[in-house]
Symmetry: C2
Amino acid sequence: MAHPETRETDILKAGTVGALATPALLLDKNRLDRNLARLSSRMAARGVALRSHMKTAKSIEVARRAYPSGPGPITVSTLAEAEYFALHGFRDMTYAVGVAPQTATRAVHLRKAGIDLKVLLDSPEQVAILGEAGRAAGVVASAFIEIDCDGHRSGLTTSDPKLIAVAAELAKAGIKLAGVLTHAGESYSLCTPEALVAAAENERAVAVAAAETLRAAGHECPAVSVGSTPTAHFAEDLTGVTEMRAGVYMFFDLVMLGVGVCTADDIAISVLATVIGAKPEKGWIFVDAGWMALSRDRGTAAQRIDQGYGLVCDPSGKLYPDLIVSQANQEHGILAIRSRSAATLPALPIGTKVRILPNHACATASQHELYNVVSAGSDAIEALWPRMRGW
Amino acid sequence: MAHPETRETDILKAGTVGALATPALLLDKNRLDRNLARLSSRMAARGVALRSHMKTAKSIEVARRAYPSGPGPITVSTLAEAEYFALHGFRDMTYAVGVAPQTATRAVHLRKAGIDLKVLLDSPEQVAILGEAGRAAGVVASAFIEIDCDGHRSGLTTSDPKLIAVAAELAKAGIKLAGVLTHAGESYSLCTPEALVAAAENERAVAVAAAETLRAAGHECPAVSVGSTPTAHFAEDLTGVTEMRAGVYMFFDLVMLGVGVCTADDIAISVLATVIGAKPEKGWIFVDAGWMALSRDRGTAAQRIDQGYGLVCDPSGKLYPDLIVSQANQEHGILAIRSRSAATLPALPIGTKVRILPNHACATASQHELYNVVSAGSDAIEALWPRMRGW
């Protein structure tokens, strides 16, 4: 099925990077396409479906590039995302946040409207809530059981007797068991290929074992869903896994650089900023991008290389050696040379434009209304792709 | 002059807190009004104008409550704010971020449209840029010289010879010198009344000295503008100061609680969230408010009491003892008892609503589209006040 034609972005007028009001979010289309192709070909080679997570991009235009032949299976982090992508033709989606009474009601209404929306749960209480919502709406709900593979967040361990109990409750409540779902959240804190390969294998093994436990108890467990951007790129064996979830892989960011999943040249989004002053005696250059444009995320603070609030490039994307956003106020960023570096502060007169690579693509992109889409080597803004937000 | 009638919010339908989709931003109108009255009466008693900073609230409805008798003098952090408040009848504003070529052009266009917009600068380069923009637009620009009172950010020190040089350049370029402006950024890291009184006095003394230096050199320097929420509340003497700037005082937050400017009962905004699970063996309760709803701000991490990603209340606003948001993923928050506390985790079944007080009001509010306005003791949402965003 082709994507329906709802290109509301055609009405927006594009221009040049040089003429953009700053701060502004840039998206490098070539890097995006390369990142999309890298993971989708990796999964295709392993026969595993890629259920991309839309929480990073939150954009129908990006989703269309991720699924060029038509709406594919997606993951969403909010029901507002589910509704937005449903309006744009996506049908097969998983809402990967534990379900509660109000979200259960809203989710079954989407199911009633023909959207194959699966929800997530890990307790008999949630089964009762979802069963009640499904009965009230007159639809059969569908749920993943969340599995905990690394103690990172919610979910049941494979050995927890509640695993079979929850599956039994689902059956009694007339809810479809979609499968098991786990997320190797721990992988974001790793930084060696060996550790990432091991985390991916653990994620796979735990999910498959949970599915086998359920199947041995007589429950159908069609899907075995795993995923995080690091494990998606380092998994060597995906036997038993039916689908991979990942979101930040589309854009990448400095945290993923620190983990070792990408290079700086793969990072597809950046914040364009303008130099507004300097304090040479302190080694400071001021730009008009503070935490409102960059987000407060300091995910690299715990990594081997602390990137401050971001790494600084010239407008063409070339990195300034060791120049980072060392501090951020609401609308001010302070550029400085990383501590213990021998690099010198570049001369950047007032009005100079810079591009800042973000720590965390999900957080930085969410500070902006839209993507200014650019291609390497060109000053033209080819398109403006709006982002959705809210819950 | 009365506020023009542009109440677009009347078209929005309000409901009850109990029926709100979560996460959602609540604004307690009683607390807001109390906070507004506290600082405006403090300034009125000292004969100092209050030029409220709109970067925190970004809402015309909040601005109208801050200036009940009609549009007053405001500070803005972006030109999008300047344009938004201008459209709603505000005329006297200061854009408190250093000016650069594109913002100079946009600012003088606002001046040409009748808005008394002052910009900020601290270098001869910026004077040249602003002068050029003013000539091109055929208007007389107006600028504050930024003064550095505590080494926190940009600005000139009183003894810097550039101070008089910049004033002379302004005169030559035909730009009006609005005055001097400083911000005691250091005050956010303080936590005793003595230190705050001293920071306020330093802010005042440096600003007044800068103005006197300019006047002694023959420059008119009408405004002496100081401000930060902590110093605004602790200044004992404001001799020579003509106006006070503050923004977060409208809502307050946990950082301000740690500084000692407010009590938890003064914090006017909170994020309503729903319990979606638990992991009792780890002492964890999961809610559907992660950093997307709370922001990544960890401003209390450097304070004596680290509030994690926020302090947790019941829906009526009553604090649970030592219950904080200890971790935050994009759409998940993990509630836990603060370390080294003897408090016990409350029983909060799935579906329970909680209210989370934010670390940083500016950052948390910016994650939301609108304020759900409530009053103490009532479940009714009295109004929906949209927020503006972007640059």
